[in-house]
């Protein structure tokens, strides 16, 4: 839930990140992902779905990012490979990704400072996600039902982006929360 005032940043640990590329029109694809990750693949551009411990983000017309909590990337990859058929690509990208949860009353302002993308709720309501320029890096940003945002970016940008966020959010009151804090 959004906290009153300020911006709270929390790293989301213990997650498997798997990149999936396949023909969006193949009915076996949706079935395989539902079977392995328990989440429905979004087919609408710029949207994401979540179910229980899994999230599926639209990255392109034939590309998705699956994020599964408490699972191992290689195992998810293996299960998807077994469940899929035909021409596809499944890659465990867990080691390359960092996911942050940004919450707080002023989180929207920090996003607006960081990117040319229009993060106003009118354009970016819950359920939407966008890959865009974020500071001088690129990131996948997703709007959640509780008013918070999930941000996924490359691990090599972590130091830079964490410093950027701390600086950009300082004027609103910034707090870096431990992963196990409420």
């Amino acid at each position: 839930m959004s906290e009153p005032g300020g911006v709270v940043c929390r790293e989301c640990l213990d997650r498997a990140f798997v990149n999936v590329r396949a023909d969006a029109g193949d009915p076996r694809l949706r079935h395989a992902v539902a079977q392995v990750a328990g989440v429905d693949l979004p087919h609408e551009p710029g949207t994401w779905n979540h179910a229980d411990r899994s999230r599926a983000y639209w990255l392109g017309p034939d590309e998705w990012l699956l994020v599964v909590e408490g699972d191992d990337g290689l195992e998810v990859e293996g299960r998807l490979r077994d469940a899929l058929d035909g021409r596809f690509s499944v890659a465990d990208v867990t080691g390359a990704q960092v996911q942050l949860e940004l919450s707080g009353h002023d989180v929207g302002k920090v996003l607006q400072k960081s990117s040319p993308y229009d993060f106003h709720p009118r354009n970016f309501p819950p359920g939407r996600c966008a890959q865009t320029v974020f500071a001088k890096a690129t990131a996948l940003v997703a709007a959640r039902e509780d008013g918070a945002f999930d941000i996924v970016f490359r691990r090599s940008f972590a130091d830079y982006l964490m410093q950027w966020l701390a600086d950009a959010a300082a004027e609103y009151g910034y707090r870096l929360a431990g992963w196990n804090e409420p």
Partner: protein, 96 residues
């Protein structure tokens, strides 16, 4: 700076998210080894460089990472059409 409507993301996005990828509709020669140096040089380097509508490729680098074609006026920077790779620009612009 201008904004481009990505045909895959179906949104107007800032130019900052894209990279220019050169003139569109330049077919690679079927048999490069049979070309003279002049013909190969022509294929590699000679571009139309028009003053006005220009058919060019862009890639949504920071977004969906897909290539597509844009018909853009090099004088006004107005984007006249956005269309997919493998397609030709809409008829009216072709008739110039």
């Amino acid at each position: 700076m201008f904004r481009i409507r990505c045909p895959y993301c179906r949104e107007l996005r800032s130019e900052e998210e894209f990279s220019y990828a050169g003139e569109a509709h330049i077919p690679r020669p079927e048999d490069p080894s049979s070309l003279s140096d002049a013909e190969w040089g022509e294929y590699l380097h000679t571009r139309t460089n028009p003053r006005g509508p220009h058919r060019e490729m862009w890639v949504h680098t920071a977004g969906c990472r897909r290539y597509f074609n844009v018909l853009r006026d090099t004088l006004s920077y107005e984007i006249l059409a956005v269309y997919l790779v493998g397609e030709m620009p809409p008829e009216r612009e072709e008739a110039r």
